[in-house]
């Protein structure tokens, strides 16, 4: 998927993560801050990158502010931000396809 316009998903509440995506030209540029960086930083990064790969996003500037989100929440927020940036978040989502 191609990031067409800036989009944001999620909140800064506990157990959530706020994900912002913007169009980029130079691969995946990830900026991550987390309240549990020392314990889970690597795993959060891996989950974000895996999700982007599944969605076939090749160029994006992505900012993740994590507040202790579970993996399933991180995935949901990244996907929602990407689908929003393409204007495709409202209907006919490929549940169980690239969203899984």
């Amino acid at each position: 998927m191609e990031i067409l316009k800036p989009a944001i998903a999620g909140t800064l509440e506990s157990s959530d993560a706020q994900v912002t995506v913007e169009p980029g030209q130079d691969g995946i540029e990830l900026s991550l801050t987390s309240s549990v960086m020392n314990q889970y930083g690597r795993q959060i990064k891996a989950t974000v990158l895996e999700t982007l790969e599944r969605l076939n996003v090749q160029h994006v500037r992505i900012t993740v502010v994590d507040k202790g989100a579970l993996d399933c929440t991180l995935k949901a927020r990244v996907e929602c931000a990407v689908f929003r940036s393409c204007g495709q978040s409202e209907e006919n989502i490929p549940w169980g396809g690239v969203v899984q």
Binding site: E13, D16, K75, E90
Partner: protein
């Protein structure tokens, strides 16, 4: 992925707790409170511009979190909104046990949802007929059409009334004696029993009014409801206590089931237990008491 077993149309549903599907902090550990069902909400709890985000959140929660024996139901947006079709797709793809139809007013509303559910079951390779339905009556028209709604589909397991919206339509407010909704509750119970489905009362929203809450739960039990919708985990325990059978009722039910089975073998249809006339008509009620007792940890026998 957590594959959920095929939903049971008739199971114990004393408590059904509402949770905002958009809030990860809530839905990740919803099952620990011990309610019989959780109701993940895509409708009123989710702001209009977060409906899409709530679906992504819901999908991954359903696929990742093991809710165990807790039934998982989702309240979808009304049929007068642009959201309900995608709500149904995500529910079926995620494998929910049941869907609650908000603002249901006619059998046609149930049929409309049923058709979309069946299409989604085919699209996502789920067993056709797997996903259960329940209706929420929120308007005078919904209450008047309760019977056609309750009997509209084989997927229907229950009906509930939504007090907030209904009272607004009726120009009334919650009353301690329940007079504001007396007729509506009665009409809905009649319709549910005539159709053989379950019936659930509305939420009690004033968390500071403990006495009012208790009075309403006692009245619900006395009127014959199967359970109640809740908004806070602290309400669960009391409803379970009130809806539990008494020890005397459990002993009586056990005697009745045993006697009916033994006498059936002897060819006897009607007989007495503790001086009361008993026949086969008492069996479903007695079995229901024993199932309820088992769920409440009061019965460990093998009659049900």
């Amino acid at each position: 992925m957590i594959p959920r077993p095929k939903p049971e149309r008739f199971r114990l549903r004393r408590t059904m707790m509402f949770m905002n599907a958009q809030k990860p902090g809530l839905i990740k550990d919803a099952y620990i409170y011990g309610c019989d069902s959780i109701m993940l909400d895509l409708e009123d709890a989710v702001a209009e511009n977060q409906k899409d985000a709530a679906r992504f959140s819901l999908y991954h929660a359903l696929k990742t979190i093991d809710y165990g024996d807790t039934e998982v139901i989702v309240r979808i947006n009304g049929l007068d909104t642009p959201h309900w079709r995608e709500d149904i797709r995500v529910c079926v793809a995620g494998g929910v046990d049941g869907i609650r139809i908000a603002k249901c007013e006619s059998a046609q509303d149930v049929h409309t949802v049923e058709k979309a559910v069946e299409e989604a079951e085919r699209e996502f390779g789920a067993e056709v007929g797997r996903t259960l339905l329940m209706a929420a009556l929120e308007s005078p028209k919904g209450v008047l059409n309760a019977y056609e709604i309750c009997s509209a589909s084989e997927r229907m397991f229950g009906v509930a009334i939504s007090g907030g919206d209904f009272r607004k339509c009726m120009q009334t407010t919650p009353q301690h004696n329940g007079i504001d909704m007396l007729f509506a509750r009665g009409q809905m119970l009649l319709a549910a029993r005539a159709s053989g489905i379950q019936c659930f009362d509305t939420v009690f929203t004033d968390l500071d009014d403990e006495e009012g809450f208790r009075a309403e739960v006692f009245q619900n039990k006395a009127m014959g409801f199967d359970g109640k919708s809740l908004i806070n985990p602290k309400q669960i325990r009391f409803v379970h206590e009130v809806f539990a059978p008494t020890e005397k009722e459990v002993i009586q039910a056990e005697k009745i089931v045993r006697a009916i089975k033994e006498n059936a073998e002897k060819g006897l249809g009607v007989f007495t237990v503790d001086g009361k006339m008993i026949d086969i008509a008492f069996l479903p009620g007695a079995e229901r008491t024993l199932r309820l007792a088992r769920a409440c940890g009061m019965y460990e026998g093998d009659l049900v």
